[in-house]
Structures are given as structure tokens and as C-alpha cells.
Subunit: 332 residues, 2 copies
DNA sequence: TAAGGTATAATGAACGATAATAGAGAATGC
DNA sequence: GCATTCTCTATTATCGTTCATTATACCTTA
């Protein structure tokens, strides 16, 4: 492997001069610089990032962490996150990806190894991780889940408002017996979407029936089971807000399995707008959550943090959007 | 940040002794070793991987490359790949993820930066990348796409056989007018699945109609368009083999949009067995492709390669599996 | 012409680890 | 009892960079 010393020898200069020439230092005369650059490219020189990192105390890697990679994270969420970050992080950085739950302890996560960390957070369980990163003084951006501390850069989608709009849409269509299938209990998103559901009901003076709230865990199977539970009530709801699209799809299947029809017997609305939402039968009315956009914003933030541009701690909200398709019926 | 020298000072030994103690060298007496380890854990010592890498010529990072992260790679494929690899690569390794198409040139991909590379390959375009990695003498495992060179470790799913079985299943159900919606032309998988389709027809003495082969690009939209084209033929097929599930879902929608029924008017079979396949209406009959298993096998291979265990170049085939659900109808 | 400036380049010391070699002290042999 | 071997630890070099300091050559200027 060719090093700056090899180049130095050939150029008849010191290795320092080579280093400076390669780093565009003004201390080097143009002709020498040219000569050195020529030789470097002829020898096909590539800098040794380990040596560079060692002396500069910079790792050239950005860590993208998720609450989990294998558990409870849907394929489209994972894919959108990675796509968003990947599109922004330039080639000179290493893009490192892991799930927090892959770690027994966080000792290997330090500022030597990471210039900055993006956390796509889905659970309060992440708090110990956040605390660790903060304590190690690694630049951090937290996506998707609101963190109360105010010296944190936080990029969020407004799930509460999004789900409020969704349920308001059901109400606008004449529904009053509206149920919710909830997500994984420990996830903040679960709480926010439930809040939006409740807000819409309260705003419209609709009384809240506890039996219309059933639990789920964001996968299709749990949507199926949740809907079965709702259908077995003495008075089943006429519309169901599912906390994500996967569960909405499961729920639709449960409706069909019971010989009923969506949206004629039961209206269903989802949350996320995954790619499949427009290919279900009927097409799924849902709330588009801007996962990829959040990731892009987060990656941009971490880059400017890492390259030293001052960044105020801040909360950025990316907007959700109600996507009306065919799974909700106007009553009366 | 605490270094071995700090530990050495406190333990009244040389830094070399500390290094040896931490690396379980037999040259260190047990009592000294204990003392050093105690101090190290008290100081919360974590090794500097950059320094380590520099002297040991080892990067402690495994690169997971895909043909592309943003173009033509489905969410479930990307997610399954990452899940599989992530579950195997131990915590002491960095897991680096990128798309090949993110690179203008491969100069930054060298043995200093990567101990080993896993390539989830989807296109012949990857060849220049493979050539580069081979030339840099970086341990390499290629997944998903067969590479002719025989000194390469290659882990594949047998798509040809899988799609042959799929089409054979259609034939067994009494279909003879069988069409195919193909994938992205440059992808090897497209060719293999087409081959399986053709093989099944030929094996059964069914004549091949060129108008029954329509092109697609693996996304749902193209499945929709492909099916529309087929439906507009004078004599539409009674069954369609879609080269992946996404297109199958698009195709089903096209059938519905034309007022027809699946499977009563048209039978549809897919390929991949993505999570949604069992939640479509009707549930999709398809061929399960073991993406995650391939990734696991690949990750295991690269690890044993990297840790120095001899590995013969080899081709490993992971089996596909026909999953029969409700989108194919028995004729007659 | 000597003293002082000002560019430009060279020297040598880091960074934090490992590895080859040297050295000190105890155990062994004759 | 002294040389020799054997254990264990210390010394020093090294990996490929950057950076602070020092040196050299070339101009100014008095």
C-alpha cells in the first residue's frame, strides 16, 4: 500500500510537505503541489483513514441506530430510514448501521468511533442509549420520537395531529362508533396516535368507549386479532382507526374472513402510507408519515453538526398528510 | 479518554504489559494480569480501534454492499438482507452499508477499510465492483446472483428451479395459456425466473407465445401495466406468473380494475413471499425466496473468512419453496 | 553588507496501540 | 558457587498520518 512517505521519496520532499500538499495547505508552492499531486495519482494513492483518524481524533463514520433491526420494525420503515440517510451521507463518511438491542452494553460506542450518531428512535427503552451518547459528548440527532430534554436536536412527524385528522375524517364521514387498534405499548408513537384519536373524539363531543380501544403490536397478525375482538362486541364499531398500515391490512383481512365488507360494513383507516397501501382492495385510506424525509433532514443536521457548523438544539416537525382512498365509506 | 499508558502508570508496569494483559497473552503472570484488568475496568477503558487497526492492518469493519439502495430494491428485500447480516455480525465488527451506485469510483474501497465485503448482488453492473474487490484482495462473498468465476464464494437461491415449480403448479392446475411479467432486464434474477418459466412450458410440451411475455421492472406499477397489456390481447392468458410479489400485487389490481376476478378469471402466482403476500385478497400463491437465510449464510461465511479459517470457493444454494394460497384456481 | 523579514520546506514528536528484542531476576545444573 | 536457562517485564521501534517547531533560502532595507 502506498503512503505519503513513498510519494515524498519520489518527489524529493519530506512527508510533511506531501501531507500539506494533499490537504491544500497554503504553505506549499503551487509547482511543488502539482508535482506531488501528480505522483500521488500516478501511484494510485489512497489515504489511510485509520492513521488519519488516529491523529485527528475523528472517525469519519456516522452511526445510524434504530431501536431494533429485527423486532417490531417494519420493512418499509427500515428501508425508508436507510434510504433517506444514505442519500445524504457523502462518500467520505462510513455509514454504520445497527440496532440498539444488539448491544449488551454501550462501552464500544464512543467519540473515537463515531463522529456523530443518528438515532431513529421508536421506544422509551432508547433513553439509556441517548443518555450514554450525550454523556460521551457525541453529536446526536434523534428522529421520530420526541425527547423532552431541550438541548437535543429532534426531528419528528406530528403523529398526534396526523391521527387526529384521520379520526376527524371518519367523523366527517358520519361515523361515531369509532375504534382504535393500538401499536406496541412502549412505543411513543403508540401513545401519540392514541392521543390524536382521543382528541378528535373529544373535540366532537363523542363519548369514549373503553372497549373500542384494543391493543396490537404493529404487525399484521395483531391487526387481524384486534379486528376480530372488535367484531365480537355486542355493538361493533362502524369505523376503525389502525395505528399503522400493517395492522390495517390485517384488520381488513379479519373483516373479509367474517364475511363482511370494507368499507360497506366497516370503514378502516391506517397510518404510515406504506407502498402497499394503494394496492390493497379496497385501496387504503391512511395518513402519510414522512419517514424518508425525516431521515434526510436528520442526516443533513448531523452532517452540519459534525463539520462544525453551529446548530441550535431544536425540534423540527415534518408534516403528515391525510391520503384519502377507498377504505372509508360516507355514512347516511 | 483513557489509554493503556494511563493504566500502565497506575499499575506500575509498562504499557506493553498492559497491552499483553488485555490480550490474554500467556507471557503475563496471573496476578499482574488481574491487577491490570481491574484497573482497566475501573477506569472504564475502551480500546482505540483506530490505533489498533493502524498497527494490525485490520479495520474491524465488514462492508455490506447492495447494487443499489434507492433504485429497484424493494423494501422487504433490503430489510431482510440487513436483518440477516446484522444478526450474525458480532458487535466487535462495524457493519457498514452502502449501495454500489453511490460510488463514482471505488478508490476508497480497499483492504485498509474493509476486512471483508458482502455483496448482495442484483445486476451484472456489479461486475466492475467485484473485479475491484478481488483485485484489492479483500475477502468477498457474493450473494443472490451467480458469478461464473470459480474462485468466488457465492450464495444463491435457485430462482430458476423455483419459478419452474411455480409454473409447473399452474400447469398442474390445468392452465396452458400462461403468461409471464418479467423483472428489470439487466438483473440476473429476471433471466433466471424467465428461464424457469420457459423450462416448465417446454417440459410439458406447451408452445411458447411471445406475446405472453411482457416486461416489467419489479415494482407494483409495472405489474399493473403488464397485466393491462395482457388483458388487452385477443386471447388473454388464464394464468400469469409474475417475477416478483410486488408486480403480482400490481397485476391483481389491474385485474380488479378491469372488472375481473382473481383467481376465477385469471390465476396469478408471484415470487418472493413478502410479508404482505398472505394479506392480499385473495392471498397470494407464490415462491418463497430465502433472502434472509442467504444473508445469514453469507455473513457467516465472511466472518470465518475474515477470522482466517480457510474457506474453499464454493457455491451454496438455498432452497426456494412453493407456497400455495388462494390466487390460483384449478381449471376444469 | 549585515540584519531582519518572509516565504517555503524539513525535522521530529505526537496519536494509541502491537511486536520484536533486550534485560533483570529466579531457578537449575555441574 | 558460578554459569546457564527460564520467566516475566521493560525498552524501543513501528503503523501512516498531522502538527508544532525549526531550518533554509531568498528578499528587503538600512
Amino acid at each position: 500500500m502506498v503512503t505519503i512517505k513513498d510519494i515524498a521519496k519520489l518527489a524529493n520532499v519530506s512527508h510533511t510537505t506531501v501531507s500539506r500538499a494533499l490537504n491544500n495547505s497554503p504553505l506549499i508552492k503551487e509547482p511543488t503541489r502539482r508535482k506531488i499531486l501528480d505522483i500521488a495519482s500516478q501511484l494510485n494513492y489512497t489515504p489511510n483513514y485509520n492513521a488519519k483518524s488516529l491523529v485527528m481524533q475523528k472517525s469519519h463514520t456516522i452511526g445510524l441506530f434504530l431501536t431494533s433491526i429485527s423486532n417490531g420494525t417494519s420493512a418499509s420503515f427500515l428501508a425508508d430510514t436507510i434510504k433517506g440517510v444514505n442519500s445524504v451521507i457523502s462518500q467520505e463518511y462510513n455509514l454504520f448501521i445497527r440496532g440498539i438491542d444488539d448491544y449488551q452494553d454501550y462501552s464500544s460506542i464512543n467519540s473515537q468511533r463515531f463522529d456523530g450518531i443518528i438515532l431513529m428512535s421508536q421506544s422509551v427503552r432508547d433513553h439509556s442509549f441517548i443518555y450514554h451518547v450525550l454523556q460521551k459528548e457525541i453529536p446526536l440527532v434523534v428522529l421520530n420520537r420526541e425527547i423532552e430534554e431541550d438541548d437535543i436536536i429532534n426531528i419528528l412527524s406530528n403523529d398526534t395531529e396526523g391521527s387526529r385528522q384521520a379520526v376527524q375524517h371518519l367523523i366527517d364521514c358520519g361515523h361515531t362508533d369509532i375504534a382504535v387498534i393500538e401499536g406496541i405499548p412502549t412505543f411513543k408513537s403508540t401513545q401519540m396516535r392514541k392521543d390524536g384519536y382521543l382528541t378528535a373524539l373529544i373535540d366532537n363531543g363523542i363519548s369514549i368507549h373503553p372497549e373500542y380501544s384494543v391493543s396490537g403490536n404493529y404487525d399484521m397478525e395483531s391487526g387481524y386479532l384486534g379486528m376480530e375482538k372488535l367484531l365480537s362486541l355486542k355493538k361493533p364499531p362502524t369505523a376503525v382507526f389502525c395505528s399503522n398500515d400493517d395492522m390495517a391490512i390485517g384488520a381488513m383481512n379479519a373483516v373479509f374472513a367474517n364475511g363482511l365488507n370494507v368499507p360497506n360494513d366497516i370503514s378502516i383507516i391506517g397510518f404510515d402510507d406504506i407502498g402497499f397501501a394503494q394496492y390493497t382492495t379496497p385501496k387504503l385510506t391512511t395518513v402519510k408519515r414522512p419517514v424518508e424525509k425525516i431521515s434526510v433532514l436528520g442526516a443533513e443536521k448531523i452532517l452540519s453538526l459534525v463539520t462544525g457548523e453551529e446548530q441550535k438544539a431544536s425540534k423540527v416537525f415534518a408534516k403528515t398528510e391525510l391520503i384519502i382512498r377507498d377504505s372509508v365509506k360516507k355514512k347516511g
